[in-house]
Amino acid sequence: MSVARFWRKQQNRYNLIGTHCTTCGKYFYPPRAFCPDCRRDGKIVEHQFKGTGKVVTYSIIRSSSGNFKLLTPYVLAIIELDEGSRLTSHIICEIDKVYIGMPVKRVFRKLGEEGSSGAIHYGTKFVPA
């Protein structure tokens, strides 16, 4: 991911900053600038998520590419944050420990890098809570 493209969403990735529709009360992480329920009636404000949630579903990735090659095998999961929004993340735990419903919390980790001389991407991943 190019420097500008990563930087644009850096605050969101570092601090789980998503959005919140004050019209219907829904929370969005990844952030949405437009509420899919309220559409033009939606009023969107920034929201910092607490960073806790639970595993909705998961897989153990045994074959990957690029930045994830060294991490293989790793746990990939869909997580539902306590505020109700869902996201996809690498979960850092033993591959045989993950289960549906497992409580998780955020941690700050390297997400990848543009090769050994390029920019390093940091952001949020999850560990068992």
Partner: protein, 387 residues
């Protein structure tokens, strides 16, 4: 709207085609379709071509023009359009072609699909395919396509008690069908043990749960129904078309195990066709992974949620069963040249309805196709019948 029929079909053999370039693949399929329809290039009014990622697979964009040129039709200045919706590019190309003919805008239209995947290494392929998901919020988390479908499988198995064996049976059945399809990449039957003992790719999915990396192209020719008999004695009528979209990211779906765009696209196609599920003789579904076929059978309404595993296990989805699924061998055995798959489904359906599907023939008058982009962010369904 005018009624539309398919008057000619062509498909290359699918597989690792080291000798064939991107453009040769297309020309080969196109020529076969023209021959089948017994028409010449000058008679074609317009071309649509489904292609997911020539830009990254062969570093070529501007596919519409390239194809018109190498098909020898640039001299006619033919309109040529590339259609992209990840793995649903082919199905969507067909829908665009159908719309062009139905609207009266064009008469003789080619709907094609082509993908040349083996000119790059496996790692690049993995990465290109992952771009069908949300790059910004799924890709960066380390998703792979098998990984996304594996998460569907985990959720599905947890909720509906689908067994690993039932899932494996999807692959066994599709290989069985593929063995009778001369265009299939894999023409060898496999056993449950082959699937169950294959390498884990993304738990719970194993290598034999996944469709392979494939080169291939397919092309079909559409015409207004009232002109169809100028070209063929066995025109196949387009009864219904349905397209739907859903969230690009799997995590935003209300129900991980229900591809809601399949439900919507299927319903739209059925409504337009004015036929019932029981009228359908077979379906070519998008089995990029075994779990995808299980979900598709249910989401298209052929059984209740949670029952497709049992249906498969009982042989009801095999040729001769209650609702045969993927008589061609599906993506699993035919291979999955992403942009071509949707057109190959139409090719198989036309062959079946004409009674030309030697060795795997199903006796029916109505068939259906189901083509999925990404994890179900785009779905295109078509229903066909003998004219």
């Amino acid at each position: 709207m005018r009624e539309v029929a398919v008057i000619g079909v062509g498909c290359t053999k699918f597989g690792e085609k080291w000798e064939s370039s991107f453009r040769n693949l297309f020309v080969e399929a196109g020529a076969l379709a023209l021959e089948d329809a017994n028409i010449s290039g000058e008679q074609i009014d317009e071309i649509f071509v489904g292609n997911m990622s020539a830009g990254r697979f062969v570093e070529q964009e501007h596919i519409g023009a390239l194809i018109a040129d190498y098909a020898g039709l640039a001299t006619n200045n033919i309109p040529a359009t590339r259609v992209e919706a990840a793995c649903a590019s082919g199905g969507l190309s067909f829908k665009q072609a159908y719309t062009a003919v139905a609207s009266g805008m064009s008469d003789i239209v080619v709907a094609a699909g082509v993908e040349k995947m083996t000119d790059v290494g496996t790692e690049v392929t993995t990465d290109v395919l992952a771009a069908a998901a949300d790059r910004e919020w799924e890709g960066i988390a380390g998703v792979t396509f098998p990984g996304l479908y594996a998460m569907i499988a985990t959720d599905y198995m947890h909720r509906y008690g689908l067994t690993r064996e039932q899932l494996a049976q999807v692959a066994v059945k599709n290989h069985e069908n593929g063995a009778k399809n001369p265009n299939a990449q894999f023409q060898k039957p496999i056993t449950l043990d082959t699937v169950l003992n294959s390498t884990l790719v993304a738990d719970p999915l194993r290598l034999f749960d996944c469709s392979p990396v494939t080169d291939g192209a397919a092309a079909v020719i559409l015409a207004p129904l009232d002109r169809a008999r100028e070209f063929t004695d066995t025109p196949i009528k387009v009864l219904g078309a349905g397209q739907a979209s859903s969230t690009i990211a799997l995590h935003d779906r209300k129900d991980i195990s229900t591809i809601d765009a399949t439900v919507a696209a299927g319903n739209r196609a059925f409504k337009m066709a004015g036929v019932e599920r029981k009228d359908i003789g077979f379906v070519e579904v998008h089995d990029c992974f075994t779990i995808a076929e299980i979900c598709a059978i249910e989401d298209l309404g052929f059984c209740k949620k949670g029952e497709a595993g049992r249906l498969t296990e009982e042989g009801q989805t095999a040729i001769g069963g209650k609702i045969p699924i993927n008589p061609s061998g599906g993506l699993k055995a035919c291979g999955h040249p992403v942009g071509a798959t949707g057109i190959k489904q139409v090719y198989e359906t036309v062959k079946q309805l004409r009674g030309d599907a030697k060795g795997r023939q199903i006796d029916t008058e109505i068939g259906m196709t189901h083509n999925v982009g990404g994890t179900g962010a785009t779905v295109v369904c078509h229903i066909f019948g003998r004219a």
